[in-house]
């Protein structure tokens, strides 16, 4: 190991990813959606891999189910202290639409198929934010009813990148 001060990793933002990160900074969890065939896809791409149409980020509900999960017990990154749960979550918007994130829950309470809700957490003091998940109380309705719009954690909405409409309803 080097003597370098270890800090949590941050994204090397590119043209495809910049709007996604900017939306999160503004408190909105978005996913790319084709403006032609309306398919959702993550991670973002300039064009839809199904039909070649233009993709645009649209807010999502943040509601979904755990597809699989791990309990990290060996620290491999600074800023993340084990144990913690990382899951692949299938969002309600579309079958097979998956995102990954930390599940802020007791590992013993996490199971495949369990329902989760997204929240937006800052990544250390980097200025970036990212989706994380919480277990949805079982009494909650199974379907999402609203898009996830949170208060920006630190900064206000940035120019150009923040969605203004709520289009996250599942189709």
């Amino acid at each position: 190991m080097t003597g370098t001060q270890l800090r949590p990793p941050i994204p090397l933002v590119d043209v495809d990813s910049a709007p996604w990160w900017e939306a999160l900074k503004a408190g909105t969890f978005t996913v790319d959606r084709c403006q032609e065939c309306r398919r959702w896809a993550h991670p973002p791409l300039e064009r839809c891999r199904t039909c070649g149409g233009q993709n645009t980020l649209e807010p999502v509900s943040g509601q979904g189910r755990i597809f699989s999960f791990i309990v990290v017990r060996h620290q491999s990154l600074p800023g993340l202290v084990p144990p913690y749960v990382v899951a692949i979550v299938e969002l309600d918007e579309q079958d097979g639409l998956r995102v990954t994130g930390i599940v802020r829950a007791d590992p013993e309470a996490v199971s495949i198929g369990g329902r989760v809700s997204a929240r937006i957490d800052p990544i250390g003091d980097s200025g970036y934010s990212a989706p994380a998940f919480e277990l949805t109380p079982q009494s909650d309705p199974a379907s999402p009813t609203h898009a996830l719009i949170c208060e920006a954690p630190e900064e206000g909405p940035t120019d150009g990148g923040s969605p203004t409409s709520l289009l996250g309803r599942p189709t």
């Binding site: 370098t4 699989s68 017990r73 998956r98």
Partner: protein, 378 residues
């Protein structure tokens, strides 16, 4: 034109080589050439696969004393490219671009650049950038996630993964080149520290420093060599850019496509294989690919290993050298080295009796491939 492995070379596998990847690559390549009874003047092609962690092919060729190469190619990628590298070398020879090709892999996988650890400060690019917040950036976590899914669907237990680790460790015991040789019981396996549940430390490969080189030649050159040729009789790949989260069904790997295609194109079947060097970055990789290549029905791999079907006297000897789990992680090229030893009949105390056909797989998850080798001319 048929092609064969005619020379093999390797360095010691250690936790700290004290050498450059260039020096180790040259060493292994020089041994492979000598093993074949050829000289550097007989070699006109060279290639490797790497992740910016190794020596460039032209630099290795220069170090070997060859001023110019007819063909030199470095591919960006990991274990998924190993089988393909040798098949590509074969295709390049068949296309007439050169007569012999060195395929090497050299890495300071433990003392230098190491998979599974990330040192900051770092910026993560491309697809992985979306996982910076969760730190879901390292292979043990990706494959543990897949394994969990398989365990959920098929009911595999920790012991099912453990039998794979234990069997391979037992195979490594008499292998003087193996990095980990100490006997391991199920209790030892289960007592291993957690990495990312459901993976314990013994589910993960043994990262080492070292290099392996394989010399491939066309049959016009084979007659001039002094070893028994190990013929390439089939190769198949399935390479996907899905990533580790979007792949539709993590209970299956690339082998679900590459496996059936390999058997179809060669007319062979799993039961024909005497040796199977299964790429084993993690125990679960062996589980999923044993299924994909048709050795077992889904969910039966644990029992297959537990009952000895994957060892001497069983159906097929899986990783007689100990695999990446116990011999060491030379990114899968050591599997091809072992297959050559076995098919030459020169594997010593771990020789698989009458070994004639070997499957060698490469890669894991959404991408990989496999070769079949024979000691009989195709």
């Amino acid at each position: 034109m048929s092609t064969a492995i005619v020379g093999i070379g390797r360095t010691v596998y250690s936790k700290s080589s004290g050498r450059t990847t260039l020096a180790m690559a040259i060493d292994a390549c020089r041994q492979a050439i000598a093993d074949a009874g050829l000289s550097i003047g007989d070699v006109d092609g060279i290639c490797t696969y790497m992740a910016m962690d190794s020596a460039q092919p032209i630099d290795v060729a220069w170090g070997l004393g060859r001023d110019e190469m007819s063909w030199a190619n470095g591919m960006y990628g990991g274990g998924n490219l190993v089988a393909d590298q040798i098949a590509t070398a074969s295709a390049v020879i068949e296309a007439g671009l050169c007569k012999t090709v060195l395929v090497y892999r050299s890495l300071n996988g433990r003392s230098g650049y190491r998979f599974g650890t990330v040192e900051g400060p770092m910026q993560v690019e491309g697809r992985n950038q979306y996982d910076v917040a969760s730190g879901y950036l390292v292979p043990p976590q990706w494959f543990a996630m897949w394994a969990r899914r398989h365990m959920e669907v098929y009911g595999d237990t920790a012991e099912d993964l453990g039998y794979i680790a234990i069997t391979q460790r037992a195979h490594a015991a008499p292998n003087e080149h193996a990095y980990r040789r100490a006997p391991m019981t199920m209790d030892d396996y289960l007592a291993g520290r957690w990495i990312a549940e459901p993976f314990r430390v013994y589910d993960c490969t043994s990262e080492v420093d070292g290099a392996v080189a394989i010399l491939v030649a066309g049959e016009d050159v084979v007659a001039d060599t002094n070893t028994s040729p190990v013929w390439l009789v089939g190769s198949s790949n399935s390479q996907s850019g899905s990533g580790f989260s979007t792949w539709d069904d993590p209970t299956q790997m690339y082998s679900r496509s590459a496996g059936p295609r390999l058997w179809k194109t060669t007319g062979l079947s799993p039961s024909d294989m005497d040796v199977a060097c299964m790429y084993d970055c993690f125990t679960y990789t062996v589980m999923a690919t044993m299924e994909g290549f048709g050795f077992c029905e889904p969910g039966q791999v644990g029992e297959f290993f537990a009952k000895g079907h994957a060892s001497y006297g069983g159906d097929v000897v899986v990783n007689p050298h100990g695999g990446l789990l116990s011999e060491g992680y030379i990114h899968g090229l050591n599997h091809h080295y072992e297959a050559a030893l076995q098919l030459r009949g020169t594997a010593g105390v771990r020789q698989v009796a009458d070994a004639r056909l070997a499957l060698v797989t490469a890669g894991a998850g959404p991408f990989g491939g496999a070769n079949i080798y024979s000691n009989e001319h195709p």
